[in-house]
Subunit: 288 residues, 2 copies
């Protein structure tokens, strides 16, 4: 997805929020902010927004000298989500359609995002779960996804954030595990999940996990490792979580089901839903 002009003020806001979250040092904040302004002024808006996210967080890591500024946040949300695990497992298993419930909860988990919102409290995760369990969801699309999963040989499941991936685990446990490869980011960026988080969440014990080889907060195919690109090419279908993966993968020629909360109104408008809606959508309509 291209970058809309409206995304630009949001880049600058996010850069300010992110660098302020990571450091109190006004000199560093100012340096990062000025560089992000310059990079935004030069940006090719045919590129997708996560490219700027990648640049912003590289600058923050570079100027703070901190390779993983969101480490504590990631640990906290992994732990928090793991504490919910048993309860949610039970809730899913006892529901009339476990897959639907697991999909709804996996989308709810997408609220754990430090890119769009700077402040996130535990309460809002609960609110997101309540909302996701009751909100309108495209059930026809869910059936399409169910059928595609059954039909597919290799399935790539592209994760998004730490904490959120525990919700992904709950969904993966309902899928044919031998088909699934889970994908995490190649290096720390924002609170996005990396290999260590997949381990913490218990996903490495369930399915094969690979990483993108990239520090983009999305899946910029050209920036991925050769191995990751090959796996993407080979996959029969992809399940991609979150806005960053949607923005980077939406226009690729691959059968992808996107699961996310439409947190910004540019995305919401693009998909044709209200801001805050839970979304399951597909980037192509295969001739079946």
């Amino acid at each position: 997805m291209r970058t809309f002009l409206e995304c630009v003020p949001c880049f600058i806001r996010q850069a300010y929020d992110a660098v302020s979250f990571v450091t109190d040092d006004d000199e560093i904040r100012e340096k990062v902010l000025r560089e992000v302004l310059i990079e935004s002024a030069k940006m090719d808006f045919h590129q997708s927004p996560p490219l700027m996210g990648q640049i912003i967080h590289r600058l923050i890591r570079q100027y703070t000298g901190n390779d993983d500024p969101y480490k504590d946040i990631k640990t906290r949300y992994n732990r928090y989500a793991l504490n919910l695990y048993e309860k949610l497992r039970k809730q899913i298993n006892e529901s009339p359609d476990p897959l639907e419930t697991a999909v709804r909860l996996a989308i709810a988990g997408n609220i754990i995002d430090y890119g769009v919102k700077r402040d996130l409290d535990i309460g809002s995760v609960y609110d997101a779960m309540d909302h996701a369990l009751a909100a309108e969801l495209d059930l026809d699309m869910l059936e399409n996804m169910r059928a595609a999963i059954e039909r597919s040989g290799e399935i790539l499941y592209v994760g998004d954030n730490s904490g959120e991936i525990v919700f992904d685990r709950l969904l993966i446990e309902l899928l044919p595990r031998e088909k699934i490869t889970f994908v995490v980011r190649g290096r720390p960026v924002l609170n996005d999940a990396v290999m260590e988080d997949a381990r913490t969440a218990g996903i490495t014990e369930l399915v094969e996990v690979i990483d993108t080889g990239s520090d983009a907060p999305g899946m910029i195919i050209e920036d991925c490792s050769e191995e990751c690109r090959a796996r993407f090419e080979r996959a029969d279908m992809v399940i991609a979580k979150g806005q960053g993966n949607f923005e980077t993968l939406y226009e690729t020629d691959k059968d992808i089901f996107f699961l996310f909360k439409a947190k910004c109104h540019v995305i919401a408008d693009h998909v044709g839903v209200e801001q805050g809606a839970i979304v399951i959508c597909r980037n192509i309509t295969p001739a079946e």
Copy 2:
């Protein structure tokens, strides 16, 4: 007042909103936005925020070829405020302290600001009036202002926005007119009041009106005409309306009373009030 880092995301948001308000042409929008990003990256943050406002609106006028893109809005709000004039005049005259009521309403009029808010409806002007008439106001400061007006020979009243200046007229009518000189912007910028608006609002018939000679949405002294600077120097006191005048004049060595609505939280924090509060404050504490 210096520019805080937090103001920077707001510049970009305001630039996007302003250029989108003025034109639908994405090419122009993009050009303005990219230039504002570059200018913001270079900005000396010791300067006050209205400097960036000046740059943004120069760029918008330059790229759209429209010298006064807010003309219709200004006309609309002048007309709207003039329609309220008789009712408010009566309300002020019948109130226990007409000066206090007029000050409160003059601050309420400061809601008519296209710099901070892109969308403004008539209803929000009514809400602002209701709020201003009931909200907490520093009444000791009001007494200080009353005394300073009495004691002063020459008084400069620096206006802010179109529409709002009708509310200023209601206050000026209670002041010793022979002491007052009203100041408008030298050239169109945003919906700020220029000489024509002062005429429309009936202020030119009441008191002498001069302009700043500048197109800054505030009063950047170094950017003002020689005449305006001389009048500023000579004045015994200044009454300055709105955030832009506060930001540009707060640190000058002059006895100034500021009347405004604290529309952004950076200003509110700076003054020590809640965002949205009505403010009367003074930049110096003269030895009396």
